[in-house]
């Protein structure tokens, strides 16, 4: 694939990791054509990594899942890490590359991210000064795994891929640290996921009893979870009366109830329409919690009112300067 003229190759992929994709703030404005939003599952950590690297908050980053990639620096380069701690080190020195910080890699150094014993979060975000340079497709540089386009040829990284960075902006790379008090790492491990009730529409919403049941239990996160959504494990919720089969629009954060009583939490790659009854919708400020939910981990849900949801997002944006 051709790369933009003002970009430079910065990394060669030596090992791709479990699922490493290029993501940005998402593919806004094509959902009516069935195009999922995509973008970082944890938009807060993406923004933090970008801020630390001197980029705009939605610049393209690497989203690394559970087991990160091994990449070779082809040139001296500034990166920043945020989100889950996947045990990143620089080789051959063995220098630790912690999350919530910017780091400089020298040409010839290797970054490896073998995963760690840390049980919190499942997605690490690696930003490079200038942002990863890939073509804009339908208004976004995010990888659409479902559609097979965007990012790097519409797929996860592979061994041998070369990654380019765009020109660095006016901010000094690594010099623009977020204000103190900003969440540099993961959400608090005990933080509940705050939800708003589903709209009370005959063909869309589940019952109030379903919402109460969702908020009463502690839910496990099934290993059968991916960028499209989380499948929750717990006491089955009594399904609502079956709808007449029509699908309607949904957004990331929508919590659906399958016919067997299992709640599904939709994430960034979810389809744009769905036919299951909706129990609740995760507030925008807490999408990072569900986006970091680790298979085998647990989640709790808590109802919240709209003014509080709005306040939570306003505070988050202020600290991140979105």
């Amino acid at each position: 694939m051709s790369q933009p003229m003002d970009s430079r190759e910065v990394f060669e992929v030596l090992a791709p990791g479990l699922l490493t994709t290029i993501q940005d703030a998402g593919r806004i404005g094509h959902r009516d054509e069935g195009v999922p939003l995509s973008g970082a599952c944890d938009p807060v950590s993406m923004a933090v990594a970008n801020r630390l690297a001197g980029n705009p908050p939605g610049a393209p980053v690497l989203e690394c899942t559970l087991l990160g990639p091994e990449i070779l620096a082809l040139t001296d380069v500034t990166i920043a890490l945020a989100g889950a701690d996947l045990g990143a080190t620089a080789q051959p020195s063995g220098r630790r590359l912690g999350p919530g910080q910017a780091h400089h890699l020298a040409a010839g150094e290797r970054l490896s991210m073998p995963g760690s014993g840390e049980s919190r979060g499942c997605r690490a975000y690696l930003a490079v000064a200038g942002g990863f340079a890939v073509p804009l497709v339908l208004g976004s540089r995010s990888t659409s795994l479902v559609g097979g386009f965007g990012g790097l040829d519409g797929r996860a990284l592979r061994t041998g891929d070369r990654l380019a960075a765009g020109p660095t902006g006016p901010a000094a790379p690594g010099g623009d640290a977020p204000a103190s008090g900003t969440r540099l790492l993961l959400p608090h491990p005990d933080a509940p996921v705050r939800v708003l009730p589903a709209p009370a529409l005959s063909g869309v919403g589940a019952s109030a009893a379903a919402l109460a049941a969702l908020c009463d239990a502690t839910w496990g996160v099934s290993p059968v979870s991916d960028r499209r959504g989380l499948r929750l494990v717990g006491p089955p919720i009594a399904p609502a009366a079956p709808s007449d089969g029509g699908s309607n629009g949904v957004i990331p954060g929508t919590i659906q109830l399958t016919p067997d009583g299992t709640p599904l939490v939709l994430l960034a790659d979810a389809g744009t329409t769905g036919g299951y009854p909706v129990i609740a919708v995760v507030i925008s400020a807490d999408l990072d919690i569900v986006g970091q939910a680790r298979p085998g981990g647990t989640l709790r849900f808590q109802p919240i009112d709209l003014p509080s949801a709005r306040r939570a997002l306003a505070e988050l944006r202020q600290t991140l300067a979105f």
Partner: protein
Amino acid sequence: MITLPTSRILRFGDAAIIIEVAAHAGYSATQTVNALNRELSVRLVGRAGWERPVPGATTLLIPIDPIEPGVEAAIVEVTRWLDGWTRPGEDDPVHESGPIVEIPVRYGGQEGPDLAEVARGIGLTPAEVIELHTGTIYTVAFSGFIPGFAYLGPLPPRLVLPRRDTPRPRVPAGSVAIAGPQTAVYPVDSPGGWWLIGRTHVPIWDPLRTPPAVIRAGLRVKFTSR
């Protein structure tokens, strides 16, 4: 004529609002969703914080920025726009509108491997199935499932049958399929549980093209046999 009660304009979490136009899915609901989509799309062009509406079977969902405008202000705004708005009636010339896209299809054979079974299942000959499928002008109801996958309907009642018991792991791009009261063209290779009756070689989905989908909201579709 249908006037929307304002109670049917509700928030969907803090990042979208949803407008319900009918209690049940079907052709009438689709017509109203499409008319409402046309009305609101014009109003929303270039408005910061509002995304293009997403049509569904019985609703129109509008993703919005949770802070600006925020869902409450968005509901007030849409309610004001739709005050007195009426859906075009059955005898209104707008009712059967929308440009018609013609999709040439090779029915049966290797490209429509389920045609014979579909025909047997409903007691028709394959030629009669083709005649019914090409003899109707379909309306785009909404998209979803995968990028560029548009649900078209309504199918002639004679062709309505449940999905296949076992989905195929890979349905080739361009496959023309039916299931329930709907028909569709698979935009890319994907898993699928619909009955494959033919295939088109028109590239119906290309993300590098504007617009990417040949079959999209506001259009109607006629299949022709090649």
